[in-house]
């Protein structure tokens, strides 16, 4: 009898435990964009996490040095591949700054229009993935339906869903196709309806709130120190949006608000993106209203390819085409840093020219990298089950994090 009692006491006693190391990824479905997390667990609690990037073998900077300025454009599609047009715009604005030229007014509206559509698709992807990985599969399907509606419009406009390569030095590659504006106006209400469905399904959902509120909290001060930008920074209450702080293109003519969070947790990062979708929707509608007719590309054959009629029919056109294609745009020596508001934050391009047709060097400030580097700080002390929602909410995109 006494032996039995002693045995049961032994079972109740605290078990001696040691930490356990778990590899998450790189090929785990929840590790978006092939990243690896080396997580040290004490029971279910995360003690330490080390993110490891580099599995995509992007080689963006180096590849760019062997391409003409325009040939770099397809590489930028693959930075943040959920909102490629925002990368296209950011990069090409850098080249234009080096050249000291500006694109046409219509092109500026087109860039803002397509850029904001891309921002919506980016946020929809992020929100859908959070829902999916917290078990709300419906949310994911709603978000994907909305995203695909918009990507259909993008592919009609640019010829591709994701690999858009749509901007050009001094303009954009294609104008709105006939009937496209109406198509967009027809599908936007459905997109907003689906976004509303996501809102009603998640925002006041008990389970969702329990899993996200107070999880992965970062203070405003810390977020600034880590170099956060974009929704992750604004979720902590810091009001910094490049579109407002340093307006570019025609953002100064747009009436929109920058939503701000307060607590800097997973929930705030979610709700902020939801609200930004609504603001981007406003900008898209305003672009459609304000957009003037006119050329979509500057008429200067030093930078912009001549019209095909001139290329095939005149020696001047074929020469300009030939030189621009084989040698590239001759960009004067210099270096610039341009920054635009990408879907995840400040997307910066540092471009260096030595006066040739190819970049001397290109570096990217992908907004995802500083945010990813703070991931260990965000998830430390949380349960292993909270890792995935936190990781989702920072919306790391492999293509822009790795260079």
């Amino acid at each position: 009898m006494t032996e039995q009692i002693q045995d049961s006491l032994a079972v109740e006693a605290e078990l001696p435990s040691s930490t356990m190391t778990v590899n998450l990824g790189p090929s785990h479905p929840a590790m978006h964009g092939t990243v690896r997390l080396i997580v040290t667990l004490d029971g279910e609690t995360i003690v330490e996490a080390v993110p490891e990037i580099g599995f995509l073998h992007r080689g963006f900077s180096k590849s760019s040095e062997h391409s003409t300025w325009h040939q770099v454009l397809p590489y930028t599609d693959r930075l943040n591949y959920v909102s490629p047009i925002l990368n296209n715009v950011g990069y090409i604005m850098g080249v234009e700054k080096l050249l000291g030229i500006k694109d046409t007014e219509r092109s500026q509206y087109l860039r803002v229009l397509a850029g904001e559509i891309s921002r919506i698709t980016d946020h929809l992807t992020c929100i859908g993935a959070i829902g999916l990985e917290l078990g709300a599969f419906t949310v994911f399907l709603y978000a994907m339906e909305a995203r695909e509606l918009l990507w259909d419009r993008i592919s009609e406009l640019t010829g591709a869903r994701v690999t858009t390569s749509w901007t050009r030095v001094g303009g954009v590659a294609s104008d709105l196709p006939p009937g496209w504006e109406q198509k967009l106006r027809d599908c936007l209400p459905r997109v907003m309806e689906l976004t509303g469905e996501v809102d009603t399904l998640l925002t006041r959902n008990r389970i969702f709130i329990d899993r996200t509120r107070g999880i992965g909290v970062l203070s405003a001060e810390e977020a600034v120190d880590w170099g956060f930008t974009g929704p992750c920074l604004r979720a902590t209450g810091v009001n910094y949006d490049v579109r407002k702080a340093h307006p570019y293109l025609v953002y100064d003519r747009m009436d929109f608000e920058v939503p701000l969070g307060a607590s800097g947790d997973t929930y705030d990062r979610y709700i902020l993106r939801l609200e930004e979708i609504r603001q981007s929707h406003r900008i898209v509608l305003q672009c459609l209203e304000q957009m003037p007719p006119g050329p979509i590309l500057i008429d200067d054959w030093r930078y912009a390819l001549p019209p095909k009629k001139e290329v095939f029919g005149s020696i001047e056109g074929v020469m300009a085409h030939f030189k621009l294609i084989t040698e590239g745009i001759q960009v004067p020596p210099g270096e610039v840093y341009v920054y635009t508001e990408g879907a995840n934050g400040e997307l910066g391009f540092h471009l260096v020219s030595n006066g040739k047709g190819k970049p001397y060097a290109i570096q990217v400030r992908g907004p995802g990298l500083p945010i990813l580097s703070a991931l260990p700080r965000l998830i430390k002390g949380h349960a292993i089950a909270d890792l995935i929602p936190i990781f989702d909410s920072i919306n790391m995109i492999g293509g822009e994090v790795e260079q």
């Binding site: 030093r302 001139e310 020696i315 074929v318 030939f322 030189k323 084989t326």
Partner: protein, 502 residues
């Protein structure tokens, strides 16, 4: 020196400089089509017009006006820019839409200047003039009159440099074109240079035409192997093929020219090559007789210095009895760039022989076995017991033939007729079969026979030449003159070293 101001910057110019050359001294490029530093001034293209303090309010041709003390030159004022733009527009009035099918694309002055100075559509609404599209001028040159901008560089070159006036301008105004004389083709031995100096795609090399786009080939320096003059050239290659040879400037060898025969020497590197060789069998054939009497070594004047030095080293190590010197037969020569001796390195082989202390015999006789280092001009009167050939091209085959790299493909050096030691570089990116420099085959045969110590690199073979103070790697791109080899007699017009007596 004469002091002038180009765009406000002071230039110390030679009093004989024209404005183009004066501006070039500080890196200011005045555009021109018809001017050529080695030809007379034509003033045809009007592209080089600039403003000077001597003639305010007027534009003067930069090619024709000489510098004057204190002269102020403006090369990019609105008036100058406007003229340049206008010139380009006029030059292109009758130019066909040919870039896509034109060999000059990518190295065309019209394209370069159009993008720099014009870059806008033409305002001319008349239709373009039709002219002869493919006039065969001669064995190497074809002419497209529609592309011609009448700079007359080719005419002046034939008159002044080749000194065989075979080209002329015929007809007038916009109908004018370049023509040969009736019944007389452009068959000068220097006709290929007219293609090089043609700033547009009017004169084209028939050998290179439609073979490759110019931006696909890689340019590397080389020394022409066509004759003993050793003209400095660029070879342009892709894969294991050489597409064309172009002259490389060397004032003391070939200035900026080369002959047509030399231009075609790359075909030997591209065609009818020996590609595979049975090294093991060569070693087996030599094993029983190595060190015994009756072995001969032959080497040709096409060998690089390193191959020649390695041949003598090989002979010494294997116990060769006799050495034979073979060479290509003499051909036509002249007093400018073409030498009668059609071998690139006769002087080098002789130098290597002296360094090795051996005597060279002319006809192959009195031996039982022969190892031939390149087979050019090799004549065997009766079959030998053992004959191993290290050969570049098919033709003379031994019991074993080992593939030899061409001079254009290997690291090494050659010495021209007046004793200029010049470096050659591997200029063909891809390998051709098992081909290797002859010194490499020699080393591998010896290694197979268990004899160590033979040179294992071009630099090591070069050191056997006994040239104190010289290393292969240290030979400058323009070469060095070996004073002890300088001849007493010079061809009349041949370029020569600065110090050599006139």
């Amino acid at each position: 020196m004469t002091k002038v101001f180009v765009d406000g910057r002071e230039v110390e110019a030679d009093p004989r400089d024209n404005l183009i050359e004066a501006a070039r001294r500080i890196g200011v490029a005045i555009p021109y089509f018809c001017y050529h530093p080695r030809l007379s001034i034509a003033g045809q293209c009007r592209m080089c017009l600039v403003e000077t303090s001597d003639a305010p309010g007027r534009l003067v041709p930069g090619c024709q006006v000489r510098v004057k003390e204190g002269m102020k030159v403006v090369t990019s004022s609105p008036a100058v820019r406007d003229n340049q733009r206008g010139c380009m527009e006029f030059h292109l009035i009758n130019h066909p839409v040919d870039c896509a099918i034109c060999d000059q694309s990518g190295e065309c002055k019209l394209q370069d200047y159009y993008m720099e100075f014009d870059h806008q559509p033409s305002r001319i609404r008349t239709s373009k003039l039709n002219k002869p599209k493919r006039e065969i001028f001669g064995p190497l040159v074809v002419y497209d009159a529609e592309r011609c901008i009448m700079c007359t560089r080719c005419v002046r070159f034939m008159d002044e440099i080749a000194q065989e006036p075979q080209l002329a301008v015929v007809d007038r105004g916009s109908h004018s074109l370049i023509s040969t004389f009736p019944g007389q083709p452009l068959d000068s031995k220097y006709s290929g240079n007219t293609v090089d100096i043609c700033p547009v795609g009017a004169l084209l090399n028939r050998d290179f035409r439609f073979q490759s786009r110019v931006w696909f080939v890689e340019k590397s320096p080389a020394v022409c192997t066509g004759c003993a003059n050793g003209c400095n050239v660029y070879l342009e290659s892709r894969g294991n093929l050489i597409y064309r040879l172009l002259p490389r400037r060397n004032e003391e060898v070939n200035q900026v020219w080369m002959c047509d025969e030399g231009r075609l020497t790359h075909h030997e590197t591209n065609e009818k090559r020996v590609e595979q060789g049975d090294l093991a069998r060569a070693i087996e054939l030599l094993r029983p007789i190595a060190g015994k009497p009756g072995i001969g070594i032959s080497l040709s004047a096409q060998c690089t210095n390193e191959e020649a030095a390695a041949a003598f080293d090989f002979g010494a190590r294997i116990g060769a009895e006799k050495y034979f010197f073979t060479a290509r037969l003499d051909g036509d020569g002249d007093d400018f760039l073409i030498r009668q001796d059609k071998n690139p390195n006769r002087r080098g082989v002789e130098l290597a022989a002296r360094a090795a202390g051996v005597t060279l015999h002319d006809s192959v006789e009195g031996i039982k076995a022969l190892v031939a280092f390149r087979t050019d001009g090799l004549l065997l009167e009766k079959p030998l017991e053992v004959f191993i050939a290290i050969a570049q091209n098919q033709g003379i085959e031994g019991q074993v033939t080992l593939p030899c790299q061409s001079v254009y493909e290997q690291d090494g050096s050659v010495i021209n007729y007046y004793g200029r030691l010049q470096r050659t570089w591997p200029g063909v990116p891809a390998e051709r079969g098992e081909s290797a420099p002859a010194w490499s085959w020699a080393e591998r045969i010896l290694a197979g026979l268990g004899i160590a110590g033979a040179p294992r690199s071009a630099a090591a073979a070069f050191d056997l030449l006994g040239l104190p103070g010289l290393k292969l790697e240290a030979i400058p791109e323009e070469g060095v003159v070996l004073e002890q080899l300088l001849p007493a007699q010079w061809p009349k017009r041949a370029p020569r070293p600065a110090g050599a007596a006139r």
